[in-house]
């Protein structure tokens, strides 16, 4: 017993002398990042064809991330019509969900508008990737967007991705040509082939329909509130 105590005592300075931190072991959890060009596609339609994109990326650790979203559209032979950027702080709130807060800036359409954003992003049961965002513009207008997508594996490399998006506005925003209530709904179906995980060409269809007063405004401007297009593009990430 005495020997045991002696042993114990002799070992004390070896390990109890200082407060340890994890820093000596595996370095601090590494800062990681990724950039996903989820959609970069050509759209063929009855009217003018366009190039559309949807990009997201993040930099950070397990819990805290700086999140970046961008999407937009440009007629093949024209200037950019839509270009939206988001910069968000994203924080893990549960295994499958991140809460996000930040700003959104729409360079197009004109006038350029800046919004505050609050929302969440994650994986809902049954593997739906869901993004839900609430916006308040610099003019105090409220709007919201809900987006969901799903990867259906036909084979390990052939993946069918249905996407749905809906936009809602709390009020009429004259200069952006939107009315109160549901503004539009967008449904897409894309079939991609993952040559490698990081690179997948795809084809698909995309259908957008403006709704309610927003549709009326579109018609007043001589636009078709309904837009059906065939798409082909690439999805890639780093």
């Amino acid at each position: 017993m005495a020997g045991a105590i002696l042993l114990a005592l002799s070992v004390v300075p070896a390990w109890a002398a200082e407060e340890h931190s994890a820093e000596q072991f595996h370095e601090e959890p590494p800062i990681l990042g990724t950039l996903l060009i989820d959609r970069f596609e050509h759209r063929w339609r009855d009217g003018e064809n366009s190039i559309d994109w949807d990009v997201q990326g993040w930099v950070g650790g397990d819990t805290n991330k700086v999140w970046f979203n961008a999407e937009g559209s440009k007629p093949v032979d024209g200037d950019v019509e839509e270009a939206e950027f988001q910069l968000l702080y994203s924080r893990m709130t549960s295994e499958f969900w991140d809460a996000q807060i930040g700003i959104r800036h729409d360079v197009r359409p004109q006038p350029q508008t800046t919004y505050g954003v609050i929302g969440f992003q994650g994986v809902a049961p049954y593997f739906f990737d869901v993004t839900a965002q609430l916006f308040v513009s610099e003019d105090g207008d409220f709007s919201a967007r809900l987006e969901a997508e799903y990867d259906l594996l036909i084979t390990q490399k052939l993946i069918l991705q249905p996407v749905a998006e809906v936009n809602v506005s709390a009020q009429r925003v004259q200069e952006l040509h939107i009315g109160p209530g549901f503004n539009d709904i967008e449904l897409g179906l894309r079939l991609r082939y993952e040559v490698v995980r990081e690179f997948a060409p795809y084809i698909g269809v995309n259908w957008e329909r403006k709704l309610g007063e927003t549709a009326d405004i579109a018609r007043d401007h001589g636009e078709d509130p309904s837009d059906l297009s065939l798409v082909a593009g690439v999805r890639f990430w780093f």
Binding site: V11, A17, Q24, H26, L153, I154, Q156
Partner: protein
């Protein structure tokens, strides 16, 4: 100080082995250095190198100039001195896996006042060998182990070895990726299932529907979908080359024997991430040692092999023919292969790979908040005597069509940490939506534990392990430490008790305490849990012959308990030995505090 034997032929090596027979048979691989038992001081340099496996060359890190590192053959009672020189441009370390030693010699940076060996520095390890058996050594820094920093340790007993063999070979299994390990971890974190090329597809859906019926298949997919879990997630990383003593399946490492000889294979799983099913078709193995500790010999045809574990087996081939040593990773993405033959250059038949298991809801039994609501039509009829005693957050409310008819004597009282580990006669086959349709059939293995063992063959189970020497400390544990194995697969965050290493609380026990550690695996993966500095005694049904282990493989959805006498003061790493699990947080400090305060 060490003797090198450059260019030694096998014949010479065997002669040499004969000459030093007193010190035990020394296995010499061509072109490999061997440290004979008399060498008590040696130098090992850590340096970047290239490794060629089956003709493919990639980056690696070697200890002592080879991959695997030289086998260290020592004798119990010796004091050994090892000078490790770091020739990398980053810190490194060497951990002596399974050895009982003073904390600072354990070689885990950040613990016991041990610091990484800086670039250009030499660190001198010095410790007395207090045990005999098969162990191994590897880097404990970042992911260097994955890159080749591992080697075997063989310690001959001071007294008589209860095992006699004519040949003695180290069989060190490992997994090698040509990818940079840091990149592997990044991909795991940014893209769930990145390495899983066996996810369930629509094609599988139709096949399952044909076999199990459409309703059952839909229920099954809904159940997994509701939990956002993947039934095919057996291993996180693929793209591995599986090695035996640094050789790929084509390189075909060969152990030579003469018919009738006893051949001792000291099998070590030095993989970063790969759990194997090991067998030698046509040659039964008698397991004589587990994790370096002698066990009552048990004859088996195969065994499941957790990362970090070791098994010594005896094989007695009597015919003059080649036998294939075959170790399949449990996700069946490949295999390690070697040959046991009467001469070099022989090749045995390579067996067909077994089917990959599909996980079931039983593998998720410990998942927090597991909702049994989706288990429609589940038949609990045969769950007599089941202890529902501790089930946290289980929702039984929505189980349509359940037959609770004969669930006698069930206690649903306070459900936390439910123990499914001993449900005799529980019939999972009656759970629709569990993909059990072809349980045990050749094309589909069901549940993590299903290794596809053919009828009549004997697979080693932990229950078969019985210490050859009686346990010394037979006191009942005075308290229990619950260690929940937790994680978020989708984010690739792995934790103990829900906390990452850098945020978690340490486990503290007093010196001399007898404690029980209760591993509750809430995840869908098996975790080989490794404690440094001390052996744990596995509660496997033995009373005074519990096997002593340094790694305990805890299956998914299961509870495994061990006992421990806290007789090594210090601050010991306690972690999952899957490298990327440890790197992403599945580690804590196990502190054995000196009992000074109360004396």
């Amino acid at each position: 100080m060490h003797k090198t034997l450059p260019g030694l032929s096998r014949r010479d090596a065997l002669k040499f082995a004969g000459a030093v027979g007193v010190a035990g048979v020394v296995t010499v691989y061509p072109g490999r250095r061997v440290f004979a038992a008399s060498d008590r001081s040696l130098d090992l340099a850590v340096e970047r190198t290239r490794i060629t496996i089956d003709g493919e060359t990639s980056n690696a890190i070697s200890i002592g100039g080879s991959i695997p590192a030289p086998t260290l053959r020592w004798r119990e009672g010796q004091e050994v001195v090892i000078h490790v020189t770091n020739r990398l441009d980053e810190g490194t370390s060497i951990h002596w896996h399974g050895l009982l030693l003073e904390g600072v010699m354990d070689g885990a940076p950040g613990f016991n006042n041990y610091r990484p060996i800086g670039p250009g520095e030499t660190y001198t390890y010095r410790f007395k060998l207090r045990q005999a058996g098969t162990y191994w050594y590897h880097s404990h820094s970042a992911s260097q182990e994955q890159e080749g920093m591992y080697g075997a340790i063989v310690i001959e007993p001071a007294g008589r070895d209860p095992v006699r063999a004519d040949r003695d070979y180290v069989v060190l299994l490992s997994d090698h990726t040509p990818e940079n390990p840091e990149n592997v971890l990044r991909k795991l974190k940014v893209s769930e299932g990145y390495y899983n090329n066996n996810r369930r597809t629509l094609v599988d859906f139709f096949q399952d529907a044909k076999r199990d019926g459409l309703g059952a298949t839909i229920n099954d997919r809904l159940a997994w979908g509701e939990m956002r879990m993947d039934a095919t997630d057996l291993a996180d990383v693929t793209g591995y080359q599986f090695l035996v003593n640094g050789k790929g399946p084509l390189d075909n490492w060969t152990a030579v024997y003469n018919p009738g000889e006893r051949v001792r294979l000291r099998i070590i799983n030095g993989s970063a991430m790969s759990i194997f099913d090991v067998r030698i078709p046509g040659l039964p193995m008698t397991v004589v040692s587990a994790d370096g500790q002698n066990v009552v010999p048990v004859k088996v045809d195969e065994f499941r092999f957790g990362v970090g574990e070791t098994y010594d087996v005896i094989v007695m081939p009597t015919e003059d023919k080649p036998f294939t040593f075959f170790a399949e990773s449990i996700d069946r993405t490949g295999f390690a292969r070697a040959t046991i033959a009467t001469r070099e250059g022989m090749e045995g038949e390579i067996p067909e790979q077994r089917p990959r298991a599909i996980l079931t809801m039983a593998d998720m039994a410990m998942a927090p908040g597991m909702d049994h609501g989706s288990m429609a039509g589940m038949d609990h009829g045969s769950m007599a005597g089941m202890d529902h005693g501790n089930m946290p957050g289980m929702d039984h409310s929505a189980m349509p069509g359940m037959d609770h008819g004969s669930m006698q004597g069930m206690d649903h009282g306070s459900m936390q940490g439910m123990d499914h580990s001993n449900m005799p006669g529980m019939d999972h086959s009656a759970m629709p939506g569990m993909s059990h349709g072809a349980a045990g059939s050749k094309d589909q293995a069901v549940g993590w534990a299903d290794a596809g063992t053919p009828p009549g063959a004997k697979a080693l189970s932990y229950a078969d392990l019985k210490a050859l020497v009686r346990n010394k400390d037979l006191r009942e544990p005075t308290h229990e430490i619950e260690v929940q194995l937790t994680g978020m697969m989708s984010r690739y965050i792995w934790t103990l008790n829900g906390q990452k290493f850098d945020e978690g609380a340490s486990i503290r026990v007093a010196y001399g305490d007898r404690v029980r550690i209760r591993f509750v695996n809430t995840t869908m993966m098996a975790h080989p849990m490794h404690l440094h500095g001390m052996f744990v005694e596995l509660e496997n049904g033995q009373t005074d012959r519990m096997p002593k282990k340094h790694v305990v493989l805890v299956p998914p959805g299961q509870v495994t308990t061990v006992q421990l006498t806290a007789d090594e003061p210090g601050e010991w790493p306690f972690h999952c030995h899957l490298l990327y699990h440890m790197a992403s947080g599945m580690m804590t400090r196990f502190i054995v505090e000196p009992h000074t305060a109360s004396l």
